[in-house]
């Protein structure tokens, strides 16, 4: 019997290690042959620890499983969900980037290859650099780390730059609240990221790569390090990548608890060993990046999507989506929700569908008040914007941003003034200090919101002015986008700033 118990951080946080230990102990006690595979998560966090049992006739899912459930689980008498693929939340998805996550043993390269892995890299190895870049461009892939910049164009700049040394840097800093897709992917299917980085290396002529993982992710760091070692041993990385005659190798680096190091130039400074301050652009990292060399900086999901583009072809990927948002978006449903987790779907689903139908509304059973989309720098979307389709341009038009596609749901007990204050406080704590509107403005922002709360009738206008200054005068999106959560809270939920309103009347 083969039993799958996720090693994923969320599953562990909900007791997966104790369940795995109980299964081992019970199997030994009964003297039955049980192989335990520590897989990634299937993404249905409300069912974690989600255990799958294969008795030779396919995988049956159970969850949430506790250690006390283990005897019944091994007896086959525990009530389960049937196949994961038949659970409605899973069945509705289009899984491309996450096709293997939770299915395979994360660091078993043969398992990876048996599920479509390495097909993309082998295909890319037979192509020239410009052909590889053209394939990525044709797929329509845009950066999943926040800004949505076309990946093919970025790669082309690096490819055409003349230099002896070029780098691929993967941004795995994932600091946004409500996001965990990067973590899940690295823990559950690390070879996808490695393969994507190797394809990027062959494409632009880079021979070295780094994955910069935030220190808050010990499990992802451990799994990635092991997978890199396996890939090197098996010739996926090294001087002769899958027999192509071309070299690419990579290393895992760990951040040190600074949110701003998710910004790409700050990340590069940090990787070089400096303070994580933001660099002025130009020069673009594509031309002068790590150690002054041309560098591709891409998010985990952007890079981990590259293998499936090469495996199935750019046209296959490009066929999904909406407008200029091609392919799939890996929604992370979080906060106060009945069904939280990772939901991969073609761009185009509306925000309301995701929150009401997929997530099933709030866990508290109370009405949804607001959804913060795109992390701490994203807008709070009120219910009357729920018809907004998930697409970069559509969200922009609705006054929001998709960012890294985290959806944080709040019920009607949420205090929007407090959340606006938190956004300013967070900006003040995490500011790299380079520009005044961000460093000082955020501190003033906290004070101004406190004045609104205290009933100062002029404070709301001051806050609006301050947000304008931060928007216009900040070098990066930390100072520049903090006005999104703040102003969206103020505009869409005036009742929560009512002391201000009463005073004005």
């Amino acid at each position: 019997m083969k039993v799958y118990v996720p090693l994923d951080s969320a599953a562990r946080a909900l007791g997966a290690d104790a369940v795995a230990a109980a299964i081992r102990a019970e199997a030994d006690r009964r003297g039955i042959d049980v192989t335990i595979v520590r897989n990634g998560s299937r993404g249905m966090v409300w069912l974690e620890p989600l255990v799958e049992v294969d008795r030779g006739d396919g995988r049956a899912a159970y969850g949430p499983v506790t250690a006390a459930d283990v005897p019944a689980l091994l007896d086959g008498t525990l009530k389960g969900h049937g196949r994961v693929e038949d659970i409605p939340f899973f069945a509705r998805q289009t899984r491309l980037t996450f096709q293997r996550c939770g299915l395979v043993d994360p660091t078993d390269l043969d398992d990876y290859a048996a599920h479509g892995g390495l097909a993309g890299l082998r295909r890319a190895a037979a192509m020239s650099g410009p052909e590889i870049v053209a394939e990525v461009t044709a797929s329509g892939l845009r950066g999943r780390g926040g800004a949505g910049f076309p990946t093919g164009i970025k790669w082309k700049t690096v490819q055409q730059a003349a230099a002896d040394r070029k780098y691929i840097v993967c941004n795995a800093d994932e600091g946004d609240s409500g996001t965990f897709a990067d973590r899940m992917l690295m823990e559950g299917d690390p070879f996808s990221l490695i393969e994507g980085m190797a394809i990027a290396g062959l494409g632009v002529g880079a021979t070295r790569g780094y994955v910069y993982i935030r220190s808050e992710y010990p499990v992802a760091i451990a799994v990635m390090r092991e997978a890199v070692a396996v890939a090197r041993r098996r010739g996926v990385l090294g001087p002769d990548v899958v027999g192509s005659g071309r070299a690419f190798d990579m290393e895992v680096r760990v951040g040190a608890g600074a949110y701003v190091c998710g910004e790409e130039t700050s990340l590069l400074n940090s990787l070089e060993g400096k303070r994580g301050t933001v660099r002025a652009k130009p020069p673009l990292p594509a031309l002068e990046g790590f150690l002054g060399c041309p560098t591709v900086v891409n998010n985990v999901i952007s890079l981990a999507t590259v293998p499936v583009i090469f495996e199935k072809g750019a046209a296959h990927y490009e066929a999904f989506g909406l407008g200029r948002s091609r392919g799939t978006v890996t929604l992370q449903i979080a906060g106060n929700v009945k069904r939280g987790g990772l939901f991969e779907t073609a761009f185009g689903m509306t925000l309301g569908e995701a929150v009401e139908e997929i997530a099933g509304g709030t866990a508290s059973g109370r009405p949804v008040k607001a959804v913060q989309v795109g992390g701490p720098l994203g807008a709070y979307m009120p219910r009357d914007r729920f018809d907004t389709p998930l697409g970069y341009e559509d969200f922009d038009a609705a006054g929001g941003l998709i960012g890294h596609a985290g959806l944080v749901v709040f019920d009607d007990t949420a205090d929007m003034l407090k959340l606006a204050r938190f956004a300013m406080e967070f900006c003040a704590v995490e500011s790299c200090g380079k520009c005044t509107p961000c460093r000082i403005g955020a501190v003033r922002g906290v004070e101004t919101i406190d004045r609104i709360a205290a009933g100062d009738p002029r404070a709301a206008a001051l806050l609006t002015d301050l947000c304008e200054t931060m928007k216009d005068g900040s070098l990066c999106a930390l100072g520049g986008f903090t006005p999104y959560p703040v102003m969206s809270a103020l505009t869409h939920f005036p009742a929560d700033f009512a002391t201000m309103k009463e005073a004005a009347e």
């Binding site: 969320a10 966090v45 906060g335």
Partner: protein, 153 residues
């Protein structure tokens, strides 16, 4: 965490082990903190000398990052997530309870040196908050009892 007292020899050995890397500073600092539970003052000139940097520059790096501490932490470190998704499921009340029970404020250490408490902004457990981490143990849907019990273990 077993923590050694810093000696210049150990510091130099750690620096030497990482010097060949491209951008060796963060790996060195992480290794030093792993070994001593903090970045001891003696480490700064040793790193500066080996990497051919000014002492102020090294100090500037150490002080920029939230992870590096100049004073030792308590024997166990509790990190409670204060970011938005956890706020949506009651992290603020949880934090207040834990802080009150320990009788300390954020970044504080209990008088007996047993526990330090730090805020953290997201642990990637946003679909099962409130999230906490006690040393390397992750806790989802955390409550005060569970967090304190883990820290006492």
């Amino acid at each position: 965490m077993p923590v050694a007292s810093p000696t210049l020899d150990t510091i130099r050995a750690i620096v030497a082990e990482h010097r060949h890397l491209e951008g060796p500073m963060l790996p060195i600092l992480h290794a030093i903190q792993e070994a001593f539970g903090r970045i001891p003052a003696e480490a700064v000139p040793a790193i500066a000398e080996a990497l051919n940097l000014g002492k102020a520059e090294v100090h500037g790096v150490v002080s920029f990052y939230h992870d590096f501490r100049e004073a030792p932490a308590g024997r166990r470190v509790i990190k409670l997530c204060r970011a938005e998704a956890c706020q949506a499921v009651g992290s603020e009340a949880l934090s207040e309870r834990v802080l009150a029970r320990l009788g300390i404020d954020w970044h504080g250490t209990t008088a007996d040196g047993a526990v330090t408490i730090e805020p953290v902004y997201c642990l990637g457990l946003c679909a099962c908050g409130p999230a906490a981490m006690v040393d390397d143990t992750l806790i989802g849907r955390a409550d005060a009892e569970r967090v304190l019990a883990e820290a006492a273990a």
